[in-house]
């Protein structure tokens, strides 16, 4: 059985904290940080990275193109 | 060798444009220059050279088409008359600000406003002092014959590309509408190789080309303006053109350009018949203005009459040139009226030479 697993990398210095990625993530992976970046914005990060499927919804709605998305298929083995 | 043709100034500009290898003409009809586009449309330059001729929806659109075409590295031109040229000032300022080459032909008519359709020289200030917003200059040439209407098309494009600056032919309804003999240069090919600054698509071997006149950083923009100023200085040093007629023994001088310079030649004849030794200094480039050359004349002459079909616009440049050394007066007619040779002689007597 194969499962898709993803990861996002946020260029947080370029993030403007608009939160559109947050509402666009079907797996509720993304949240905003409490701290701010050099420009004073709370920025997006993968709060629940394990739930990321690499669907790239966050990246394609990001107005500033700050999210890069990776994805692998992993084999889940049953433990006998 | 090609034979002479008999043509209107407006038609000569059009034929010269095709022969000069102009890539695009964009214009909007207005009297007294509509023959330019009419001739071009009839001459099928798209078949002769591949030249694009397009009737735009307005002068505003036409000049901005020039802006686009010039950015793409092409030889582009338009023609219009006074009210239309006013509408083009926005685009001219942008083209000057983006340092792009183009040619605009102004066949001047009487103003202000809708004015009249008769010949005038009332757009001198607009043409030579910038015209639109910002510290910039057009290179301005004033033809005095149909032959020069044709010749200056090539001259202007050479200057426009050499300095990456818009150029303007300042003509008027008389030169546009009158017919004279004209001989055209051989057909030149259109530009096939784009200048390196042209927006033709960014290839991997170069940085992207951007044409803009915007810089939100004033200190950087000041540097850009200083660069423009240096360019204009260089043009002032190198590109002044003028003609002197019967100046060798002249005690008095007419300074006149375009149509009025032609009329003054008749006036010289009349004045000399009456014993007044007068010559003509004809600026061909109105910007850069032949200041040094006019000043040099002050050693020899007693007074200057500028003759303009305006309330007196070029006289300011003459005054700046002579720096108070000799008396300078103006004679002109306005609103599309043209001074006659006799009137000019009378004005010379009354204002300058006496008797």
């Amino acid at each position: 059985m194969a499962k898709v697993k993803g990861a996002i990398v946020v260029d947080f210095e370029k993030c403007k904290g608009c939160e559109i990625c947050v509402v666009s993530c079907p797996a509720d992976v993304i949240e905003m940080t409490k701290e701010v970046n050099a420009k004073g914005y709370h920025f997006a990060y993968a709060a629940k990275p394990d739930d990321c499927t690499g669907c790239a919804n966050c990246a394609i709605v990001c107005p500033d193109g700050v999210i890069t998305v990776y994805k692998i298929k992993i084999v889940v083995e049953k433990i006998a | 060798m090609e034979e002479f043709q008999l043509m209107k100034g407006n038609e000569a500009v059009a034929e010269a444009a095709i022969r000069a290898g102009v890539d695009g003409y964009f214009g909007y009809p207005i009297t007294p220059q509509s023959e330019v586009m009419e001739y071009l449309m009839a001459a099928k330059p798209h078949e002769r050279t591949g030249m694009v001729v397009l009737q735009a929806e307005s002068e505003v659109a036409a000049i901005n088409m020039l802006y686009g075409g010039a950015g793409a590295g092409k030889k582009v031109m338009t023609s219009s008359s006074s009210p239309g040229i006013s509408l083009m000032q926005e685009g001219l300022s942008y083209i000057a600000g983006a340092e792009l080459p183009c040619l605009v032909v102004n066949v001047v008519r009487g103003g202000p406003g809708l004015g009249t359709i008769q010949p005038s020289q009332c757009d001198y200030n607009q043409a030579t002092k910038g015209g639109g917003h910002g510290d910039y200059h057009l290179i301005v040439l004033a033809p005095a014959s149909v032959q020069e209407m044709a010749d200056f098309v090539t001259v202007c494009f050479d200057l426009a590309f050499k300095y990456r600056n818009p150029t303007l032919i300042l003509s008027d309804g008389a030169i546009g509408q009158m017919m004279e003999k004209v001989k055209f240069a051989e057909q030149k090919p259109r530009l096939t190789k784009a200048p390196k600054w042209a927006t033709t698509g960014k290839t991997p071997d170069r940085e992207r080309n951007i044409h803009t006149s915007l810089d939100l950083d004033p200190s950087r923009h000041e540097k850009f303006n200083e660069k423009l100023i240096r360019k204009y200085k260089e043009i002032e040093e190198k590109e002044v053109r003028y003609e002197k007629i019967l100046c060798d023994d002249a005690e008095y001088l007419f300074v006149a350009y375009g149509t009025s310079s032609r009329i003054c030649q008749k006036s010289i004849q009349l004045a000399r018949e009456g014993g007044i030794k007068v010559g003509l200094f004809r600026p061909i480039t109105l910007w850069p203005y032949p200041k040094k050359e006019i000043r040099a004349m002050t050693n020899q002459i007693k007074g200057i009459l500028t003759v303009e079909m305006s309330a007196g616009q070029m006289i300011e440049d003459v005054l700046l040139s002579v720096e108070g050394k000799v008396k300078v007066a103006h004679y002109g007619r306005t609103g599309g009226m043209i001074p006659t040779p006799e009137e000019i002689v009378e004005a010379l007597k009354q204002k300058i030479s006496g008797g």
Binding site: A7, T68 | E90
Partner: protein, 285 residues
């Protein structure tokens, strides 16, 4: 169940599924947080990359918020005077007919000061693409009423709401240009959600491909937000847009050419262009 990889294992070049296109520069865009301009710039850049036309594309930037677009796109661009982008693009495309030319214009630029240039370029059937951002407001100058401002919508120059009796009606430029014989493909999209972004991207791609039909302007309106001008958070502005803008400016294709550009894997656009030229006599609109 046990995972066989960690996040560090996933973030590798070979696993990349989405990264910013190289047709965008690394300059940080000056737009406000959540602004649709950024997304739309990216889509245009992605389409240029996908079609492999970076070295054949010339863009024309407007005056408005996107005046500095040329700082963000790694392509040849010209900055137009306010409203005149279609005039520039007309000349560029006519003088370089083999290139891809597009204008990028806001609603003040395209639908107010540049109405004449827009309508006449569309009506002449120039073969370039217009990307039109409609956020119902003048963003750059600080939130004044635009020709596209909705009835009763508050702006700095309609502080009590747009009174259409006094201030006139919103202008639906997209429907208007669709009626002109010189337009080929006219559509209205948005970029506020992943699904809409995907649709908008397809539309922009088509709009560029349709330049090869030589059947006229391809016109893509993007209904967008303006959180600063509307005085909302980015998320609120998107919600407001869905509730208020979309009913007035409904999304979807308004005009499509009957002949579609075929896209096969590895196809060079110019091949399909030749085919289209052969077929074009049968095209009806």
């Amino acid at each position: 169940m046990a995972e066989t990889s960690s996040s560090n294992d996933i973030v590798r070049e070979e696993n990349l599924v989405y990264a910013k296109t190289k047709v965008l520069t690394d300059n940080v865009m000056h737009y406000c947080p959540g602004c649709g301009h950024g997304t739309t710039h990216r889509l245009v850049a992605e389409v240029i990359e996908e079609l492999g036309i970076q070295s054949d594309t010339i863009g024309v930037a407007p005056v408005g918020c996107s005046v500095l677009m040329y700082n963000y796109m790694d392509i040849d661009m010209q900055e137009a005077a306010h409203g005149r982008a279609p005039a520039l693009a007309t000349a560029i495309k006519r003088l370089l007919p083999e290139k891809y030319v597009f204008t990028y214009q806001g609603d003040g630029d395209l639908a107010a000061i540049g109405t004449s240039e827009t309508i006449h370029a569309c009506n002449r059937g120039e073969n370039f693409t217009i990307i039109f951002i409609n956020n119902g407001i003048y963003g750059m100058t600080g939130g004044q009423m635009a020709p596209t401002t909705l009835p009763n919508m508050k702006t700095s120059t309609s502080p009590y709401g747009r009174d259409v009796k006094m201030m006139g009606n919103p202008l639906k430029m997209t429907e208007l240009v669709a009626t002109l014989p010189g337009t080929c493909f006219v559509t209205r999209q948005s970029v506020h959600s992943p699904a809409n972004v995907r649709k908008a991207r397809k539309a922009i791609k088509k709009a560029f491909e349709y330049q090869n039909l030589k059947q006229g302007i391809s016109f893509v309106e993007i209904v967008s937000n303006c959180s600063s001008g509307w005085k909302m958070t980015p998320l609120q502005s998107n919600e407001w847009m869905v509730e208020n803008m979309f009913p007035f400016y409904p999304l979807g294709d308004i005009k499509i050419p009957e002949v579609q550009v075929e896209q096969k894997e590895g196809d060079v656009l110019h091949n399909s262009l030749n085919q289209i030229d052969k077929d074009s006599k049968q095209v009806k609109y």
